[in-house]
Protein backbone atom coordinates (compact mmCIF):
# COMPACT_ATOMS: atom_id res chain seq x y z
CA UNK A 1 0.00 0.00 0.00
CA UNK A 2 1.42 3.37 -1.00
CA UNK A 3 0.93 6.61 0.94
CA UNK A 4 -1.14 7.97 -1.96
CA UNK A 5 -3.56 5.04 -2.02
CA UNK A 6 -3.70 1.39 -3.06
CA UNK A 7 -1.28 0.36 -5.80
CA UNK A 8 -1.97 -1.60 -8.93
CA UNK A 9 0.64 -4.35 -8.55
CA UNK A 10 1.15 -4.89 -12.29
CA UNK A 11 1.96 -1.33 -13.40
CA UNK A 12 2.86 0.28 -10.05
CA UNK A 13 0.46 3.13 -10.88
CA UNK A 14 -1.82 4.45 -8.11
CA UNK A 15 -5.48 3.57 -8.62
CA UNK A 16 -7.50 6.33 -10.30
CA UNK A 17 -8.81 9.16 -8.17
CA UNK A 18 -12.42 8.56 -7.17
CA UNK A 19 -14.92 11.01 -8.66
CA UNK A 20 -16.02 14.06 -6.64
CA UNK A 21 -19.18 13.54 -4.57
CA UNK A 22 -21.51 15.26 -7.02
CA UNK A 23 -20.53 13.04 -9.98
CA UNK A 24 -21.75 9.52 -10.71
CA UNK A 25 -18.45 8.38 -12.17
CA UNK A 26 -15.11 9.70 -13.41
CA UNK A 27 -16.28 9.86 -17.05
CA UNK A 28 -19.09 12.21 -16.08
CA UNK A 29 -16.61 14.36 -14.12
CA UNK A 30 -14.21 14.52 -17.07
CA UNK A 31 -17.02 15.38 -19.45
CA UNK A 32 -18.23 18.17 -17.12
CA UNK A 33 -14.71 19.63 -16.99
CA UNK A 34 -14.38 19.68 -20.77
CA UNK A 35 -17.89 21.08 -21.20
CA UNK A 36 -17.11 23.83 -18.68
CA UNK A 37 -14.02 24.87 -20.66
CA UNK A 38 -15.93 24.82 -23.96
CA UNK A 39 -18.67 27.04 -22.50
CA UNK A 40 -15.99 29.41 -21.17
CA UNK A 41 -14.41 29.49 -24.65
CA UNK A 42 -17.82 30.44 -26.07
CA UNK A 43 -17.77 33.53 -23.86
CA UNK A 44 -14.33 34.27 -25.30
CA UNK A 45 -15.88 34.01 -28.78
CA UNK A 46 -18.30 36.75 -27.68
CA UNK A 47 -15.32 38.94 -26.75
CA UNK A 48 -13.22 38.37 -29.87
CA UNK A 49 -16.30 38.08 -32.12
CA UNK A 50 -17.39 41.64 -31.37
CA UNK A 51 -13.91 42.90 -32.20
CA UNK A 52 -13.80 40.88 -35.41
CA UNK A 53 -17.24 42.14 -36.45
CA UNK A 54 -16.08 45.75 -35.86
CA UNK A 55 -13.05 45.07 -38.06
CA UNK A 56 -15.17 43.48 -40.82
CA UNK A 57 -17.52 46.49 -40.90
CA UNK A 58 -14.61 48.96 -41.06
CA UNK A 59 -12.75 46.84 -43.64
CA UNK A 60 -15.83 46.90 -45.89
CA UNK A 61 -16.55 50.61 -45.42
CA UNK A 62 -12.98 51.89 -45.67
CA UNK A 63 -11.56 49.18 -47.93
CA UNK A 64 -8.75 51.15 -49.55
CA UNK A 65 -7.55 52.91 -46.39
CA UNK A 66 -7.52 49.66 -44.38
CA UNK A 67 -5.79 47.69 -47.16
CA UNK A 68 -3.17 50.45 -47.36
CA UNK A 69 -2.64 50.57 -43.58
CA UNK A 70 -2.17 46.77 -43.47
CA UNK A 71 0.84 47.23 -45.80
CA UNK A 72 2.70 48.76 -42.83
CA UNK A 73 2.46 45.53 -40.78
CA UNK A 74 5.29 43.00 -40.85
CA UNK A 75 3.85 39.98 -42.70
CA UNK A 76 7.04 37.90 -42.41
CA UNK A 77 7.20 38.17 -38.60
CA UNK A 78 3.48 37.40 -38.38
CA UNK A 79 3.86 34.33 -40.61
CA UNK A 80 6.77 33.05 -38.48
CA UNK A 81 4.64 33.66 -35.38
CA UNK A 82 1.76 31.70 -36.91
CA UNK A 83 4.08 28.75 -37.57
CA UNK A 84 5.38 29.01 -33.97
CA UNK A 85 1.84 28.95 -32.61
CA UNK A 86 0.87 25.92 -34.74
CA UNK A 87 3.97 24.12 -33.50
CA UNK A 88 3.11 24.97 -29.91
CA UNK A 89 -0.37 23.55 -30.57
CA UNK A 90 1.29 20.31 -31.67
CA UNK A 91 3.63 20.14 -28.64
CA UNK A 92 0.65 20.74 -26.31
CA UNK A 93 -1.22 17.82 -27.87
CA UNK A 94 1.95 15.70 -27.55
CA UNK A 95 2.11 16.65 -23.84
CA UNK A 96 -1.53 15.55 -23.45
CA UNK A 97 -0.81 12.26 -25.23
CA UNK A 98 2.28 11.66 -23.06
CA UNK A 99 0.23 12.32 -19.91
CA UNK A 100 -2.46 9.97 -21.28
CA UNK A 101 0.23 7.28 -21.62
CA UNK A 102 1.32 8.10 -18.01
CA UNK A 103 4.83 9.13 -19.10
CA UNK A 104 6.03 11.88 -16.79
CA UNK A 105 9.32 12.84 -18.51
CA UNK A 106 7.95 13.40 -22.03
CA UNK A 107 4.96 15.27 -20.56
CA UNK A 108 7.32 17.71 -18.85
CA UNK A 109 9.47 18.16 -21.97
CA UNK A 110 6.52 18.76 -24.28
CA UNK A 111 5.04 21.24 -21.83
CA UNK A 112 8.39 23.05 -21.65
CA UNK A 113 8.55 23.11 -25.46
CA UNK A 114 5.01 24.56 -25.58
CA UNK A 115 5.91 27.27 -23.06
CA UNK A 116 9.14 28.08 -24.96
CA UNK A 117 7.28 28.41 -28.28
CA UNK A 118 4.59 30.55 -26.64
CA UNK A 119 7.28 32.79 -25.13
CA UNK A 120 9.04 33.04 -28.53
CA UNK A 121 5.71 34.15 -30.03
CA UNK A 122 5.38 36.92 -27.44
CA UNK A 123 9.01 38.03 -27.92
CA UNK A 124 8.51 38.31 -31.70
CA UNK A 125 5.24 40.15 -31.10
CA UNK A 126 7.14 42.56 -28.85
CA UNK A 127 9.79 43.09 -31.56
CA UNK A 128 7.01 43.82 -34.05
CA UNK A 129 5.29 46.29 -31.69
CA UNK A 130 8.62 48.01 -31.03
CA UNK A 131 9.12 48.45 -34.80
CA UNK A 132 5.65 50.02 -35.05
CA UNK A 133 6.43 52.25 -32.06
CA UNK A 134 9.63 53.45 -33.76
CA UNK A 135 7.72 54.19 -36.96
CA UNK A 136 5.22 56.18 -34.86
CA UNK A 137 2.36 53.90 -35.86
CA UNK A 138 1.22 53.17 -32.30
CA UNK A 139 -1.81 55.34 -31.50
CA UNK A 140 -2.12 54.16 -27.89
CA UNK A 141 -1.38 55.77 -24.50
CA UNK A 142 -1.15 59.23 -26.11
CA UNK A 143 1.81 58.29 -28.34
CA UNK A 144 2.22 60.34 -31.52
CA UNK A 145 0.75 58.79 -34.67
CA UNK A 146 2.52 59.84 -37.88
CA UNK A 147 1.13 58.00 -40.89
CA UNK A 148 3.02 58.40 -44.18
CA UNK A 149 0.10 57.34 -46.45
CA UNK A 150 -3.33 58.72 -47.34
CA UNK A 151 -6.29 59.08 -44.93
CA UNK A 152 -4.36 59.04 -41.64
CA UNK A 153 -7.54 59.13 -39.50
CA UNK A 154 -8.76 55.86 -41.02
CA UNK A 155 -5.27 54.35 -40.72
CA UNK A 156 -5.33 55.34 -37.04
CA UNK A 157 -8.63 53.47 -36.67
CA UNK A 158 -6.99 50.43 -38.31
CA UNK A 159 -4.02 50.58 -35.93
CA UNK A 160 -6.32 51.06 -32.94
CA UNK A 161 -8.21 47.88 -33.86
CA UNK A 162 -4.90 46.12 -34.56
CA UNK A 163 -3.42 46.96 -31.14
CA UNK A 164 -6.62 46.06 -29.30
CA UNK A 165 -6.85 42.71 -31.13
CA UNK A 166 -3.17 41.74 -30.84
CA UNK A 167 -2.96 43.13 -27.27
CA UNK A 168 -5.98 41.10 -26.18
CA UNK A 169 -4.54 38.04 -27.89
CA UNK A 170 -1.15 38.57 -26.18
CA UNK A 171 -2.94 38.88 -22.81
CA UNK A 172 -4.56 35.50 -23.50
CA UNK A 173 -1.14 34.08 -24.39
CA UNK A 174 0.20 35.31 -21.03
CA UNK A 175 -2.71 33.64 -19.22
CA UNK A 176 -2.03 30.48 -21.26
CA UNK A 177 1.65 30.58 -20.22
CA UNK A 178 0.51 30.95 -16.59
CA UNK A 179 -1.70 27.87 -16.96
CA UNK A 180 1.25 25.98 -18.51
CA UNK A 181 3.49 27.00 -15.59
CA UNK A 182 0.94 25.67 -13.08
CA UNK A 183 0.58 22.44 -15.08
CA UNK A 184 4.39 22.07 -15.16
CA UNK A 185 4.56 22.31 -11.36
CA UNK A 186 1.75 19.77 -11.00
CA UNK A 187 3.25 17.38 -13.55
CA UNK A 188 6.65 17.60 -11.85
CA UNK A 189 4.98 16.46 -8.63
CA UNK A 190 3.22 13.64 -10.59
CA UNK A 191 0.57 12.96 -7.95
CA UNK A 192 -2.62 11.41 -9.33
CA UNK A 193 -1.55 11.08 -13.01
CA UNK A 194 -5.12 10.33 -14.10
CA UNK A 195 -6.18 13.70 -12.69
CA UNK A 196 -3.26 15.47 -14.38
CA UNK A 197 -4.33 13.85 -17.65
CA UNK A 198 -7.83 15.38 -17.31
CA UNK A 199 -6.44 18.78 -16.28
CA UNK A 200 -4.05 18.85 -19.25
CA UNK A 201 -6.91 18.09 -21.65
CA UNK A 202 -8.77 21.15 -20.32
CA UNK A 203 -5.64 23.37 -20.43
CA UNK A 204 -5.02 22.12 -23.99
CA UNK A 205 -8.45 23.34 -25.10
CA UNK A 206 -7.57 26.87 -23.96
CA UNK A 207 -4.17 26.79 -25.66
CA UNK A 208 -5.66 25.56 -28.96
CA UNK A 209 -8.36 28.24 -28.79
CA UNK A 210 -5.64 30.92 -28.72
CA UNK A 211 -4.39 29.39 -32.01
CA UNK A 212 -7.86 29.69 -33.54
CA UNK A 213 -8.14 33.37 -32.53
CA UNK A 214 -4.70 34.11 -33.97
CA UNK A 215 -5.58 32.47 -37.32
CA UNK A 216 -8.35 35.06 -37.80
CA UNK A 217 -6.29 38.01 -36.52
CA UNK A 218 -3.48 36.99 -38.91
CA UNK A 219 -5.84 36.64 -41.87
CA UNK A 220 -7.87 39.80 -41.27
CA UNK A 221 -5.14 42.25 -40.26
CA UNK A 222 -2.04 41.01 -42.09
CA UNK A 223 -3.25 39.25 -45.23
CA UNK A 224 -6.11 41.49 -46.37
CA UNK A 225 -3.66 44.14 -47.61
CA UNK A 226 -3.58 46.08 -50.85
Amino acid sequence: MSPGGPMNTESNIPDPTPPADHFDDIEQQQHAGLLGMWVFLLTEVLLFGGLLAAFVICRLRYADAFAGAAEHLDLVLAAVNTALLFTSGLTMVLAELAAGARRRGPTIWWLLATAALGTAFLVLKGVEWYGEYKEQLMPVLGLPFVYPGEEPQLAELFFNLYFVATGLHAAHMLIGLGVLAVMLVLVRGWRRPDRLDRQLRIAGLYWAFIDVVWIFIFTCFYLLRA
Binding site: V56, I57, L60, G89, L90, T219, L223
Partner: protein, 86 residues
Protein backbone atom coordinates in the same frame (compact mmCIF):
# COMPACT_ATOMS: atom_id res chain seq x y z
CA UNK B 1 -6.22 10.98 -31.09
CA UNK B 2 -2.72 9.60 -31.63
CA UNK B 3 0.74 10.93 -32.46
CA UNK B 4 0.25 10.32 -36.19
CA UNK B 5 -2.94 12.37 -36.54
CA UNK B 6 -1.45 15.19 -34.41
CA UNK B 7 1.66 15.44 -36.62
CA UNK B 8 -0.37 15.16 -39.84
CA UNK B 9 -2.64 17.97 -38.61
CA UNK B 10 0.42 20.14 -37.85
CA UNK B 11 1.84 19.50 -41.34
CA UNK B 12 -1.52 20.33 -42.91
CA UNK B 13 -1.67 23.57 -40.90
CA UNK B 14 1.80 24.58 -42.13
CA UNK B 15 0.81 23.69 -45.72
CA UNK B 16 -2.33 25.85 -45.44
CA UNK B 17 -0.22 28.69 -44.01
CA UNK B 18 2.13 28.41 -47.01
CA UNK B 19 -0.89 28.32 -49.36
CA UNK B 20 -2.46 31.46 -47.89
CA UNK B 21 0.92 33.26 -48.06
CA UNK B 22 1.35 32.18 -51.69
CA UNK B 23 -2.16 33.48 -52.43
CA UNK B 24 -1.00 36.94 -51.28
CA UNK B 25 0.92 37.16 -54.58
CA UNK B 26 -2.27 36.98 -56.64
CA UNK B 27 -2.81 40.75 -56.56
CA UNK B 28 -6.05 42.47 -55.66
CA UNK B 29 -8.43 39.80 -56.92
CA UNK B 30 -11.56 38.16 -55.53
CA UNK B 31 -9.81 34.80 -55.86
CA UNK B 32 -7.06 35.96 -53.50
CA UNK B 33 -9.49 37.05 -50.78
CA UNK B 34 -11.51 33.85 -51.21
CA UNK B 35 -8.34 31.78 -50.80
CA UNK B 36 -7.25 33.74 -47.68
CA UNK B 37 -10.60 33.28 -45.98
CA UNK B 38 -10.96 29.63 -47.07
CA UNK B 39 -7.49 28.82 -45.70
CA UNK B 40 -8.35 30.58 -42.41
CA UNK B 41 -11.56 28.57 -42.02
CA UNK B 42 -9.72 25.33 -42.93
CA UNK B 43 -6.92 26.04 -40.41
CA UNK B 44 -9.41 26.88 -37.64
CA UNK B 45 -11.43 23.75 -38.44
CA UNK B 46 -8.31 21.56 -38.29
CA UNK B 47 -7.27 22.98 -34.90
CA UNK B 48 -10.78 22.50 -33.50
CA UNK B 49 -11.35 19.01 -34.93
CA UNK B 50 -7.90 17.53 -34.19
CA UNK B 51 -6.13 19.59 -31.49
CA UNK B 52 -9.36 20.34 -29.59
CA UNK B 53 -10.51 16.76 -30.23
CA UNK B 54 -13.97 17.49 -31.59
CA UNK B 55 -13.53 14.43 -33.81
CA UNK B 56 -13.75 12.12 -30.82
CA UNK B 57 -15.91 14.39 -28.61
CA UNK B 58 -19.44 13.60 -27.45
CA UNK B 59 -22.58 15.15 -28.89
CA UNK B 60 -22.85 17.82 -26.17
CA UNK B 61 -19.35 19.24 -26.83
CA UNK B 62 -19.99 19.25 -30.57
CA UNK B 63 -23.28 21.08 -29.99
CA UNK B 64 -21.48 23.76 -27.93
CA UNK B 65 -18.84 24.18 -30.66
CA UNK B 66 -21.49 24.44 -33.39
CA UNK B 67 -23.43 26.97 -31.27
CA UNK B 68 -20.30 29.15 -31.07
CA UNK B 69 -19.71 28.90 -34.83
CA UNK B 70 -23.35 29.68 -35.57
CA UNK B 71 -23.28 32.70 -33.27
CA UNK B 72 -20.20 34.25 -34.84
CA UNK B 73 -21.41 33.39 -38.38
CA UNK B 74 -24.71 35.19 -37.71
CA UNK B 75 -22.92 38.17 -36.17
CA UNK B 76 -20.55 38.60 -39.12
CA UNK B 77 -23.10 37.83 -41.85
CA UNK B 78 -25.82 40.13 -40.51
CA UNK B 79 -23.27 42.92 -39.94
CA UNK B 80 -22.00 42.49 -43.51
CA UNK B 81 -25.55 42.39 -44.89
CA UNK B 82 -26.26 45.71 -43.18
CA UNK B 83 -23.10 47.42 -44.45
CA UNK B 84 -23.26 46.01 -47.99
CA UNK B 85 -26.93 46.88 -48.61
CA UNK B 86 -26.83 50.52 -47.48
Amino acid sequence: MNYRSAILCWLALLALLAATLAAAMLGNTALRYTLHLSCAVAMAALVMIVFMRLRSAGQMLRLVAVAGLLWIALLIMLSMADVLTR
